[in-house]
């Protein structure tokens, strides 16, 4: 694979699109409502696993399995939110991490349900490779047909996926952005600023926090669905806490509560993440390729630290908002 291959950059773009949707969910919860959810990856897992399990084990049609996946994300959001949303911010953060790890460990250990540590390929039991992707590939081929009519041979499978993911990401971004501009979104921001003030003015803070958590969970589940479609199979390791922190990185990179900064943050993140693969010149050749894979995490960490030092409001945030008390 070379640095100039369209295939490779289409892949980077798809991942950035998926992360845009994931980060949008976090934006609603953290950027607008002030909820410190450190278990975001778990909702992605709930979405992906619900869909895969229903398609393989219950032979659901894809559309029904996807709807059920979103429903499951809402249900898990309520399950997490009902007992924990009355907690103060830092305690909420701790319980959400625990929740995400519970989901991941259940996925690892409940082999008969999830396929266990090897992932969804074992969903149908031993000796039979399972696939949930057949129906999705048909959908993708149909869209590819439309694209070919427009752009000809450039409409490869990867480019088709790129177009689908980004269309969905941008539509969701427009919808969520519009929702946050309504009086409903104003209540969320008030809760972020001071929940006692919001409840003294007659707002049911708990109900709004639940709605925010549920909306964020649905967005994470949509990201989970596309993740599943893109990679054809997945395992519990794909939803480890690092994924949540990547999503936070994107939100903070762009600037909290700046919706249109999200795709930019996600693309930038994708570039840094994938671009560091091409560090095959000195001094990076001091390390072997496996070591270089970890090097990218260090590079991302350094960039974040630099950003926090020199531009704490993020690329598109407003500096004056950082100093208000």
């Amino acid at each position: 694979m070379t640095i100039l291959s369209l295939e490779f950059w289409a892949f980077v773009g798809v991942v950035a699109g998926i992360y845009t949707i994931l980060a949008l969910g976090l934006q609603v919860q953290f950027g607008f409502t002030g909820l410190l959810n450190f278990g975001h990856a778990a909702f992605m897992a709930v979405g992906a696993y619900t869909m895969a399990i229903l398609v393989v084990k219950a032979t659901f049609p894809l559309w029904a399995a996807c709807l059920a996946a979103l429903g499951a994300a809402i249900a898990f959001g309520l399950l997490l939110g009902l007992p924990t949303l009355r907690l103060r911010a830092d305690y909420l953060a701790i319980t959400t991490i625990a929740f995400a790890e519970i989901i991941r460990y259940v996925a690892i250990n409940e082999q008969s349900l999830t396929g266990g540590p090897v992932g969804t390929i074992a969903l149908a039991g031993a000796g039979r490779a399972a696939s949930y992707n057949t129906e999705w590939l048909e959908v993708q081929r149909t869209v590819q047909g439309w694209l070919e009519a427009l752009i000809g041979d450039s409409a490869t499978r990867d480019v088709t996926m790129l177009v689908i993911v980004w269309t969905v990401a941008l539509v969701l971004l427009v919808l969520v952005d519009a929702a946050l501009r309504t009086p409903w979104g104003r209540v969320l921001r008030a809760i972020r600023e001071d929940e006692d003030a919001a409840s003294a003015l007659g707002k049911n803070v708990f109900a709004y926090k639940l709605q925010s958590l549920a909306l964020g969970a649905v967005l994470a589940a949509i990201a989970g669905l596309f993740f599943a479609f893109q990679f054809s199979f997945f395992s519990p390791g794909d939803f480890d806490p690092l994924v949540t922190f990547f999503a936070y990185t994107i939100v903070i990179l762009g600037g909290a509560a700046r919706n249109w900064a999200l795709p930019v943050g996600a693309l930038l993140f994708g570039l840094i993440f994938a671009g560091t693969r091409f560090f095959d010149f000195p001094p990076f050749t001091l390390f072997d390729s496996a070591e270089r894979a970890y090097l990218r995490l260090i590079v991302i960490g350094l960039i974040l630290i630099g950003l926090m030092l020199f531009r704490p409001q993020g690329l598109f945030g407003k500096r004056e908002e950082m100093v208000l008390e």
Binding site: A179, T182, P183, W184, R186, V187, R189, A190, R192, E193, D194, D196, A197, A198, S199, A200, L201, G202, K203, N204, V205, Q211, E320, E321, L324, E325
Partner: protein
Amino acid sequence: MSALLETRDVRKEYGGLVAVDAATLSVEEHSITALIGPNGAGKTTLFNVVSGFARPDSGSVLLGGERIDGRSPHAVARRGLVRTFQTPKALTRMSVLENMLLAAPRQPGEHVWRLLVTPRAGRVREREIRARALDLLRLVRLDGLARDYAGTLSGGQRKLLELARALMTEPRLVMLDEPMAGVNPTLGAQLLGRLEEWREEQGLTFLLIDHDLEAVMSISDRVIVMNDGRVIAAGTPANVRADPLVVEAYLGAHAGGAR
């Protein structure tokens, strides 16, 4: 006149410390009532109990004859009881105008289903409340700052914003916790004068906390005095001033110091 707010034998302990002890008081409808007492007398704790921010250990709170103790703050607020805080809670990364708009009741745009079913209703209501918000901001002289972040306001301006925001909720009873602390004295005096107008025009009832006795005496119809978590006196300003218990517990310190 009838009692709009009543507390009966309200008791609240915090880890062995009795903050409010058997507090029984009533606030007449359409009155301006002052709740005074030295620091640590339990005034703010009683405010918290009444407004739903703290649950009483025993006793009851009635608003317009209906029990409200144990209800959550937003439920109390929707019944027409709005409060402010000693340290003002401006929503700092929202504009001054947004702070006001947020406080308006009956905004269908705040509810997901109504947003989806009748999106226009929210916009219509938004126009109504915007006009009212700007009127109220004019009264507290913050209209010129409507578009600024509330976080850029001074402490005194935040007090004024909180007062205007409280009125925005269309309340029956407004409970103000040290409303004039930090407000420029001239404007503060004018605003205290305004409370009487608002009471007449909008049928409001005010309950003020202050430890500066003279500032509230002149505008209050009734004064309730607390000391050590108990209500030790209640009556007209003149009666309270003459009450030996009050003189001893509260005025005594000042009067003695002045002589």
